[in-house]
Symmetry: C2
Subunit: 188 residues, 2 copies
Amino acid sequence: MITTDPPTRNGVDTATLFATLDAVKAAPEAARFQFRAHNQWLSGTHNRSTITDFFGVGEERTHQRTFTFDADHPAVLVGRDQGPTPVEFVLHALAACLTAGLANIAAARKVKLTEVRSTVSGDIDLNGILGLNPEVRNGYQQITVRFTIKGDASAEKLRDLLEQSRARSAVYDVITNQVPVTIEVDTP
Amino acid sequence: MITTDPPTRNGVDTATLFATLDAVKAAPEAARFQFRAHNQWLSGTHNRSTITDFFGVGEERTHQRTFTFDADHPAVLVGRDQGPTPVEFVLHALAACLTAGLANIAAARKVKLTEVRSTVSGDIDLNGILGLNPEVRNGYQQITVRFTIKGDASAEKLRDLLEQSRARSAVYDVITNQVPVTIEVDTP
């Protein structure tokens, strides 16, 4: 009996994953993407983003659905709690990025995952954004990610998968390194 | 006729906002918060975060509702497009943070806003995360935010509000500066 590598592992289509890698190797400019969020203020600290269009692999694209997300402050921070705070979305983004990478890397290395859970915690002193203490930064002072990972590999190998995901994570890079941000304003 | 400052402006309860500032001035430790996201892997690059609990003003708290958000990769990045990519949530977080701050600062400065919209664009070269070019970073190379702001103040004053929001934005700080991230893993 001839056994072939299954086409998907961990829900990852590994054949397509490797084909995509080969395609980008042959045409590196295909990997230039631009992602976008469109935001509209609603009331107070409550606002809503729409995520639908992006550019990649040489052309304008859209997600299969339009995604909308509300953000707000909780009552204790003088909001109406119509959504998470903006800083909580950053924690979700970090968990999601590390987890997606982990699943891809496990599939490529032929490890079957059975459970991946994580909690991301960010410590922030609001004396910064409230302008009450110039010594305190506005953003998180530190972020901690705690993963539980189960699969058909040794603990050491599972840890290696996570380390490789960290080493190739876009959101981890954004948070731990600096990204230049330009802000333009049109005031008609 | 005696006119008093209205209790809310731009949907911001300014009286509570100033009372909160006074309370934190009197007890700075109340401003120590910890935000959290709990993430569960579903399949492939598809995973889901739950945001509900946080710590602040000296005690454990919960949002009025539990918020859940899916993240995934689009088909062109070998996912099933069950949610935005993790990096798109970062753009939403930045727009939401700058906009919430703008509304608060405008209310404090007695400016009535009528419209605030923004588009956040992030340029990323996936040769980084794909491991195909060690010269290319994993995260965004640059992020651009374009705001349209309308209200009952001069263009200059509206720009000043946005500049002050930027100067006090937690997410802007996280993205443009560095936050230390610790990753722990439990592999039972």
